[in-house]
């Protein structure tokens, strides 16, 4: 399969008043052509920072990329100038960012905001652009498009704003869409419509999608592969079927275990969060970052970060339990899975 995007050994940190935050600490993943990869993981684990790095959107003054390569069409995007990146943005790769309100221009009618992108990257006439904008707004499920075309962002509901951003991202039919929590503000019917739309693009135009989400329902619905992030590293990755049916990393078990179960008897079950808090990224632990919260942690886990173990050719996990010297990994794993 052809790789469209590959991120290797990415390290990103921020200078802050309190010290240096090591937000991304050696991230590796790839997205194949025509594939949907979902990144899931703890809040604050570096998902959005990874997305912003790919798009060249980090705040220049306070951020530092200390190592890493981001290969797209055989070029390293990290070496691109601002101008080169501008050309790629919107036409080849587009980002649906996590904060709709800050990514939309509050003083500009939403129709014009989508029009901007078409103006920049296509040679459509004014008339053609207008009808394309209306078509895009309809595609993302915004009703009464003629009326909405000339409204300002603050006049829209949270979910409509999110969909306007999606329309901007789709405008020029890019090869890669990076969607950072694209459906968080959407109700389930619209969410289903947006997910269908993304799946349709993928099938019709062979678009690749990198979707960041915490909603495992969304993952099950659209993705072929999943990468699970924790404290700045990808701790497990594999096909959707593998990750749901055969999760290997204790953090992944915790994630799957935190979903509310469908109640049959009406009893209110208490949810099971993962106990504890993620590590301080000012001085991240030298061992496995999840060790402090892991029920199965051994001495080695605190000392040394484990390498990837390949459970199948495409299913990798960074956990010492997979080491042949670890005690009874099978029993431990079974206990985790039955949670």
């Amino acid at each position: 399969m052809e790789r469209l995007l590959e991120v290797e050994d990415l390290h990103v940190s921020f200078k802050t008043y309190g010290g240096e935050v090591q937000a991304v600490r050696g991230v590796n993943f790839h997205v194949n052509k025509g594939e949907v990869l979902a990144i899931v993981g703890e809040s604050g684990s570096g998902k959005s920072v990874t997305a912003k790095t790919i798009m060249g959107l980090l705040p220049k003054k306070v951020s530092r990329i200390s190592s890493g390569v981001v290969t797209f069409e055989e070029d390293d995007l990290l070496t691109y100038s601002k101008k080169e990146m501008q050309k790629v943005k919107g036409s080849k790769i587009s980002l649906i960012s996590q904060d709709p309100m800050t990514s939309l221009n509050p003083t500009m009618k939403i129709g014009h905001q989508i029009d901007e992108s078409l103006k920049l990257h296509t040679d459509l006439s004014k008339m053609e652009r207008k009808s394309r904008v209306l078509e895009l707004l309809t595609l993302v499920g915004i009703p009464n498009v003629e009326e909405r075309y000339s409204q300002y962002p603050h006049e829209l509901s949270g979910g409509m704003r999110q969909r306007v951003l999606i329309a901007v991202a789709l405008a020029c039919e890019p090869q890669l869409i990076i969607a950072d929590e694209p459906t968080t503000a959407l109700d389930v019917t619209i969410q289903a419509q947006i997910l269908d739309l993304l799946k349709d693009l993928q099938q019709r135009l062979d678009t690749s999608i990198l979707i960041i989400t915490h909603d495992l329902g969304v993952v099950a619905e659209v993705a072929q592969r999943v990468a699970v992030m924790y404290a700045g590293v990808v701790v497990e990755s594999g096909s959707v079927e593998e990750i749901f049916a055969n999760p290997n990393h204790p953090y992944t078990w915790g994630l799957l275990g935190s979903i509310p179960k469908q109640r049959q008897d009406g009893a209110r079950e208490r949810l099971i969060p993962i106990e504890g808090t993620p590590p301080d990224l000012f001085s991240p632990p030298k061992g496995c970052p999840f060790a402090a919260r892991c029920e199965y942690a051994m001495d080695i886990c605190v000392e040394k970060m484990p390498d990837s173990t390949y459970l199948t050719t495409d299913h990798a996990s960074k956990c010492w339990l997979n080491d042949s010297r670890a005690k009874k990994p099978k029993e431990v794993a079974m206990a985790g899975r039955s949670r």
Binding site: F14, T16, Y17, G18, V21, V40, G41, E42, S43, G44, S48, V49, P59, Q98, D99, P100, M101, T102, P143, N144, E147, Q151, S157, G158, G159, R163, D180, E181, T184, A185, L186, D187, V188, T189, I190, Q191, A192, L195, H214, D215, L216, G217, V219, A220, E221, V240, E241, F244, G254, L255, S258, P260, R263, G266, R270, L271, I272, P273, I274, T277
Partner: protein, 319 residues
């Protein structure tokens, strides 16, 4: 009802949108919220959930109708009473990014209400903020940082800590957990439940994650195009769904299991949601309803208690 904390009667919120037209974001809604309960609010994007929440806590003035809080009409409160009501009613906003002042440190953001109401000062104030940060799963030294230095989910939790800071009695939580990963969602939901038990808090919980809404809510209300369609006990709503809109909404719920996603059936709604500027005559859902009858375009269905505690506005259930 004697033990209702909030009573909403025939509330409308219409926005003027130019050309002598108004957008009917909330259109004649009546219901009450009992003390100590969690009332979930669901419905299509743009159906008016945030606007209803904002109107109840007084961030928007209602166009008409009345909102009664603890037995008093909020529009007639004196200054002192209004201030106290402001403290006891808090809102967690849907867009955390836009609701946090970018120039303020997290310490001062969370303590904004504490300062405004002169609740604590100095060391006490600081300790309170640290304690709140911890309860929402953040760390004390986050207090020194600015909002843009946080991830989406971290910012959302700053908003939650801010709302909790002034020891409110009633919280409108507008999508409070939608930007959080499932484990932190669980932590926040458990925190909300603990607070409800310890301090008798009451919640209006706006969300689109039906599994979570069902988990946390005692009762659930369903909105469509500015109107309330159905309101019932949360299990009853799922098991004995009355309104055709609710039926469609529940059928679209994604399930976190790839095996299930491929097999279940969705009721797809035909057509677009109509414009809230000119909502359909009669029942506002009729243009997309699979069961629409002649009467539906002629008469507005009455909002009535079909079974004990189960409210619905639909002609299917009228004699």
């Amino acid at each position: 009802m004697s033990d209702s904390l909030v009573d909403v009667q025939q509330v409308k919120k219409h926005f003027p949108i130019g050309g002598n037209q108004t957008l009917k974001a909330v259109d004649d809604i009546s219901f009450s919220i009992q003390k100590g309960e969690t009332l979930g609010l669901v419905g299509e994007s743009g159906s008016g959930k945030s606007t209803l929440g904002r109107t109840i806590v007084g961030l928007e003035g209602a166009t008409s109708g009345s909102i009664t809080y603890k037995g008093k009409d909020v529009s007639t409160l004196g200054r002192k009473e209004a201030r106290e009501t402001n403290r006891t009613m808090q809102m967690i906003f849907q867009d955390p990014q836009a609701s946090l002042n970018p120039r303020m440190k997290v310490m001062d953001i969370i303590a904004e209400g504490i300062d405004a109401h002169g609740l604590w000062k100095g060391k006490k104030r600081k300790e309170r903020v640290f304690q709140l940060l911890e309860r929402v799963g953040l760390q004390a030294d986050h207090a020194k940082r600015y909002p843009h230095e946080f991830s989406g989910g971290q910012r959302q939790r700053i908003g939650i800590a801010r709302a909790l800071a002034v020891e409110p009695e009633f919280i409108v939580a507008d999508e409070p957990i939608s930007a959080l990963d499932v484990s932190i969602q669980a932590q926040i939901v458990n925190l909300m439940e603990d607070l409800r038990q310890d301090s008798d808090l009451t919640y209006l919980f706006i969300a689109h994650d039906l599994g979570m809404v069902q988990h946390i809510s005692d009762r659930i209300g369903v909105m469509y195009l500015g109107g309330m369609m159905e309101l019932a006990d949360s299990d009853q709503l799922f098991q004995e769904t009355l309104h055709p809109y609710t039926q469609a909404l529940l059928s679209a719920n994604p399930v976190p299991d790839p095996a299930v996603t491929n097999s279940r059936e969705r009721i797809l709604l035909e057509g677009d949601p109509p414009s809230p500027v000119n909502p359909p005559s009669g029942c506002r859902f009729r243009t997309r309803c699979p069961h629409a009858m002649d009467i539906c375009s002629e008469v507005v269905p009455e909002w009535k208690e079909q079974q004990a505690g189960h409210w619905v506005a639909c002609h299917l259930y009228n004699e």
